[in-house]
């Protein structure tokens, strides 16, 4: 049996809260760095842990603080990056709903052809999510630490719980939290979601 620890990066500066932050490469806030340091207390003395990390700044900073002894040995996986919200980046939900009500509807229903305006197609996101899921379930390492984003982690958990991806907002995965997944014979079992240890 293998273990996958899905870690959501720490909090980002307050001015970005409640805004759609995907491809925008924001840093961790002070609170976010604190959360990442707290993660280090959970992953002490684990030299054999294999660390996979999103290329984004907030994820890499979280990984550096959470597993300091790995320092640079994290493998950067592009597929672990957050959704690209395109023209919606930096806007609040209210602003987006005023600007593009039909877009919001299509997105809420995870409509097949939906694409964030100037951003990622939902289909491509789902495709790369499935690539990530397959890669994680097949990985040989007995323990994996995956540092990624809310959208990615919650979608992965939906996939592995067997519930529709459009329900991902129902899954609570706070910044700096750990979700534990056990893998046996290539099959995932979710042990806990969004815990702080």
């Amino acid at each position: 049996m293998n273990t996958i620890y899905l870690v959501r990066h720490g909090a980002v500066p307050r001015r970005y809260r409640l805004r759609f932050i995907g491809r925008t490469n924001v840093p961790l806030s002070q609170e976010g760095r604190r959360q990442a340091r707290r993660l280090a207390t959970l992953f002490l003395h684990r030299p054999e842990l294999v660390v996979l990390c999103s290329p984004m700044r907030r994820a890499r900073a979280t990984a550096r603080l959470a597993v300091p002894h790995h320092n640079g040995k994290s493998q950067i996986i592009r597929d672990l990056r957050e959704m690209d919200f395109g023209g919606w980046e930096g806007l609040t939900f209210e602003q987006i709903r005023r600007l593009d009500p039909s877009g919001v509807d299509q997105w809420a229903n995870f409509s097949g052809t939906f694409r964030f305006p100037g951003g990622e197609r939902l289909r491509s996101f789902q495709a790369r999510l499935r690539r990530v899921a397959r890669g994680l379930l097949r990985h040989r390492a007995p323990e994996l630490l995956v540092v990624s984003h809310g959208g990615v982690i919650r979608s992965l958990l939906c996939l592995w719980k067997g519930i529709p991806l459009c329900r991902y907002p129902e899954i609570n995965v706070p910044p700096g939290s750990v979700s534990i997944v056990r893998v046996q014979n290539g099959k995932p079992r979710i042990i806990s979601m969004g815990t702080s240890g």
């Binding site: 273990t3 207390t41 992953f43 002490l44 684990r46 534990i180 056990r182 042990i191 806990s192 815990t195």
Partner: protein, 345 residues
């Protein structure tokens, strides 16, 4: 002097004029192949000048994941003995009825008496010490104990209840707690890990026996949050010291060593059982790596073997004075014991 636990008693050896180093210890049921080699390196890195993590967060996460449980459902303690006392003190009130399924480890009774619980025993009998599950579940339903202590597989009889039978016992406990001591589970089943079988079960797992860390005092409980919160409230701060946490983590990082040595232990035990049986010894049938042997007078047999340089456990304190318990060691050491046994027979 009534021996209440296994292991070398230095005073006794001094009185008998026996050098501790010259004695082979078959009286404790520890994995004879020792802990992971990474343990020593980890221990060297421990700074005794700093306090340990009072929550043992890193070890707790590793244990939670291995046991398919969340960290909130794991409590790390200073050995199973510590957790037994925490359970008794936090979950029992004076006068509460409790049941001990025996004959078994003496600490359940000691801790229960200390709290003033009203003790009942369900005792399996010689020659095979098998537990009649129907009778046990009926007894539990009748008695309605607040706490039931079940050691599975059992020390010293070695009897092992399958999962379905444990479920039945847990169900019979109703709203009472079942303290399921699985210190020896790793020696008889595919895996020493797993979540509690039912919400009223508090599983105790030792890292002393299979992980071979008796000197460091380390164990953990896996249970629902409610009983664990109550146990946690009784736990003194820094109960799990830095050396224990570091060694525990090193062992969890090297489970291959555990699987390999448990296999080897099973093989050694099989050969020991065969060797003793060939001398005519009456060995109780059980799947464990320790053997219960009927010898007539356990105390005398133990003394005679001690004079031959082999220490076994006199079972008088278990209420079984005609028996001794022998824990397997490595092949060559087992051979020495068998030869000594043969000489004395």
């Amino acid at each position: 002097m009534l021996e209440t636990h296994g292991g070398l008693n230095l005073l006794e050896l001094a009185d008998a004029g026996i050098e501790p180093a010259s004695v082979m210890d078959f009286s404790a049921n520890v994995n004879p192949f020792g802990p992971s080699p990474h343990t020593l390196a980890a221990l060297r890195r421990v700074d005794p000048g700093s306090y340990p993590d009072p929550e043992a967060r890193a070890l707790r996460l590793a244990l939670a994941a291995a046991n398919s449980s969340t960290p909130e459902n794991v409590l790390v303690g200073n050995g199973t003995a510590d957790l037994i006392w925490l359970a008794a003190h936090s979950l029992l009130k004076p006068g509460d009825p409790l049941l001990i399924v025996g004959p078994t480890f003496g600490e359940y009774e000691r801790s229960a008496r200390a709290v003033g619980g009203r003790l009942s025993h369900f005792t399996a009998r010689a020659p095979d010490f098998q537990i009649d599950i129907d009778h046990l579940t009926w007894t539990i339903r009748d008695l309605r104990p607040r706490l039931t202590f079940l050691c599975n597989p059992n020390n010293p009889t070695g009897q092992h209840l399958v999962d379905a039978d444990v479920q039945r016992v847990a169900t019979a406990c109703g709203r009472g707690w079942l303290i399921l001591d699985e210190a020896y589970r790793g020696f008889v089943s595919d895996s020493p890990f797993g979540p509690p079988p039912r919400p009223n079960v508090i599983v105790l797992r030792s890292m002393t026996k299979d992980f071979a860390l008796p000197g460091l005092r380390l164990g953990y409980a896996v249970a629902a949050s409610k009983p664990l919160e109550r146990m946690r409230a009784f736990q003194p701060p820094w109960s799990v010291n830095a050396a224990a946490q570091a060694a525990g983590l090193a062992c969890m990082n090297d489970l291959k060593h555990l699987w390999r040595t448990l296999d080897m232990t099973t093989q050694s035990a099989g050969m020991l059982r065969a060797g003793l049986t060939r001398t005519g010894a009456r060995v109780v049938t059980a799947p464990t790596h320790f053997l219960l042997v009927e010898v007539g007078d356990g105390g005398t047999w133990r003394e005679r073997l001690m004079a031959e340089g082999c220490l076994v456990r006199d079972c008088a304190s278990f209420g079984l004075p005609q028996f001794v318990r022998v824990g397997t060691r490595r092949a060559e050491e087992n051979d020495t014991l068998v030869r000594a046994w043969k000489r004395l027979t």
